[in-house]
């Protein structure tokens, strides 16, 4: 709802980064993972990529965004960046991800203070950038008068190459998730059939 620019004509640059994110998603599909991928961009340069790795790790929190974030944190600190420099870096990062960040990832991106997010298809079941919660839009809660800023919002634009992202997901769910427990109901296409 707060998400801007759904269906807008995107610049070639944005589309090019989303292509790279989709490549990551395809890679995930090849590895029998839910096909979601992302790239992190700073000053026009791709500085990290990630793809869903939940099956391989048996850790359902290892979403594409989390993978890319870990790459960045390790990389930056190996080069000796301080805490404040790390924070500064995140505030200049743009994320391109094939599916709307889930509630967990959206919260994580807010914690890190990322600059902006472009995503492909919406995430009707878990989305944290407008679908279920709107964690990107809130400057969260005035409860604490402490010196540190509470909840950081970020600019968020959805619908970039959404159909490509959806068709990858469709591929995955049609072949069935071999790792999920036996479904209670027949498998249907999900998520984001719209």
């Amino acid at each position: 709802m707060e998400t801007q620019g759904q269906g807008e004509v995107c610049s070639p640059e944005i589309l090019a980064y989303m292509e790279l994110a989709l490549e990551q998603a395809k890679h995930a599909l090849d590895c029998l993972e839910v096909p979601v991928g992302c790239v992190m961009v700073e000053s026009g340069k791709v500085i990290a990529s990630g793809r869903n790795r939940t099956t391989e790790t048996r850790n359902a929190t290892r979403h594409a965004e989390m993978e890319a974030i870990d790459v960045l944190l390790e990389q930056w600190q190996k080069t000796g960046l301080s805490v404040s420099e790390v924070a500064e870096k995140f505030s200049k990062c743009t994320l391109y991800v094939t599916c709307e960040p889930c509630i967990m990832c959206a919260a994580a991106l807010s914690i890190l203070g990322i600059k902006e997010v472009y995503y492909g298809c919406a995430n009707d079941k878990f989305g944290g950038c407008g679908s279920i919660l709107s964690l990107h839009s809130s400057s969260n809660q005035p409860h604490d008068s402490g010196e540190v800023a509470q909840g950081k919002g970020f600019k968020c634009i959805g619908g970039v190459m959404a159909s490509e992202a959806v068709s990858l997901l469709r591929c995955f769910y049609e072949q069935g998730n071999p790792n999920a427990p036996k479904p209670h109901r027949p498998v249907t296409l999900q998520p984001a059939d719209h």
Partner: protein, 429 residues
């Protein structure tokens, strides 16, 4: 409400919906009419066919009252009405026909939209129109209460989590313990590691040095170190809790710590996230073959090879399982690999933030127990309430465990002065 100084353990269910005052329950409009008592059976049978009260099974179709003269008067609900529209002409055709043939005179009433969840709610509901109330029956989630044995087990595991959170000395952190309740076994645990991150890839095997306060095998000595826990968060010295990741998720960037080269910063390594990774690591270790069923003999064989590898061993945080028990615990593994944390419980000292609460949805945790509400960023009732987000594909049951004084070992510095500042208590009650 007074400051929550308690002498006993208590388990409080945190429901899916924000609790509302019994007097403020949402209502919907309905058309009703007074009827002849002798027609009651026939009319109700007819109405249940032509205008069933879908999704409102708690609402009784008929109301029995005594009028001024003491005579019994019966009214029935004909059908639901929309919010602003009390035109009987908008009723379904067959209801109108019934009204005409029995010469009824419809009027608008209000009925409560949702079934009562407590006796108090039910009594309020019946002032509007009678409803039924079924005190919830026992189920595996323990929503309706815990038996003595189960309660004791909950308290014991929560104490493990509290001890883990205290292990940092004066600096408070959040701690998480994942438990398989069917065998009373600790599967994994973790505490906040925002400033002491082990990267999974690069630095795992390097000569990694942890800050002393997060030594991997902490001994909760109790007696000497300052252990201040908030029965009322706003009473305590705030800086003591500044290090609790879920309370202050955005705090990391304000820190002026000298990281040095010995440890990495990871602002997302909250206790629950650390514990989830630890349980996933255990899963990978015990069930290395992804899709084939591991026979228990294979598990045993694998354990012995793992036991010889201290590097792998130490990644599993079993610090609080007594030495002798560690191997026993592993050998209780069943031959079927669990899917993520299905069936497991997690004990957290603080109510998790949105990121952690959603992570626990993804990992399929069955029940969450936390000791202290998190008014800043809590996602299980304080700021958000993920257990009530219907669209999610998994739902856990949430409980707050109120701890007695002696477990908290509250130091005198927690002022008792502002008992009126009870934001925390009201956030959950």
């Amino acid at each position: 409400m007074t400051n929550e100084k308690t002498e006993v353990w208590k388990i409080i269910h945190i429901p899916d919906k924000r609790p509302i005052s019994p007097k403020e329950q949402p209502t919907v409009n309905a058309f009703a009419s007074v009827i002849e008592p002798k027609l009651a059976n026939a009319l109700i049978r007819l109405l249940n066919q032509i205008a069933p009260l879908e999704d409102m099974r708690h609402v009784k179709r008929i109301q029995k009252r005594h009028d001024e003269s003491g005579k019994i008067q019966l009214s029935v609900i004909l059908c639901l009405a929309s919010e602003n529209d009390n035109q009987s002409s908008n009723m379904p055709q067959n209801v109108q026909e019934l009204i005409n043939s029995y010469q009824l005179s419809p009027f608008i009433i209000k009925v409560c939209k949702w079934a009562a969840t407590s006796r108090e709610e039910w009594e309020e509901q019946c002032k509007l129109w009678p409803t039924s109330y079924h005190p919830p029956t026992y189920n595996i989630n323990g929503i309706t209460g815990f038996g003595e044995e189960d309660s004791q087990s909950v308290f014991n595991f929560m104490k493990v989590a509290v001890d883990l959170a205290k292990s940092g000395g004066g600096l408070m952190v959040n701690a998480a313990v994942i438990v398989d309740p069917s065998v009373q076994q600790i599967i994994a645990s973790g505490h906040d590691q925002i400033y002491s991150w082990h990267s999974r890839t690069g630095i795992e095997n390097s000569n990694f040095k942890q800050p002393a306060s997060f030594a991997s095998n902490p001994k909760p000595s109790g007696a000497n170190h300052l252990t201040v826990f908030p029965n009322n968060l706003h009473n305590g010295p705030a800086r003591l809790y500044a290090g609790v990741s879920c309370l202050n998720p955005w705090h990391w960037c304000g820190q002026q710590l000298d990281m040095g080269s010995s440890c990495y910063l990871h602002p997302l390594q909250h206790a629950a996230i650390v514990a989830i990774e630890s349980s996933a690591e255990r899963d990978r270790r015990l069930f290395p073959g992804l899709l084939h069923t591991v026979k228990s003999s294979e598990v045993k064989h694998m354990q012995s090879s793992c036991a010889g590898s201290p590097a792998k061993r130490q990644k599993i945080n079993l610090a609080y399982v007594e030495d002798g028990k560690e191997l026993d615990a592993d050998s209780e593994v069943t031959s079927v690999r669990p899917y993520l944390c299905t069936g497991y419980d997690i004990y957290l000292v603080w109510e998790p933030c949105t990121m952690c609460a959603m992570a626990l949805v993804h990992q399929r945790i069955r029940r969450i127990f936390y000791a202290f509400p998190n008014p800043n960023a809590g996602a299980l009732g304080s700021v958000h309430r993920l257990q009530g987000e219907k669209s999610l594909n998994h739902h856990y049951a949430v409980f707050r465990v109120v701890l007695p004084e002696e477990v908290l070992n509250v130091a005198e510095v927690v002022a008792r002065a502002d008992d009126d500042n009870d934001q925390i208590a009201t956030a959950v009650s």
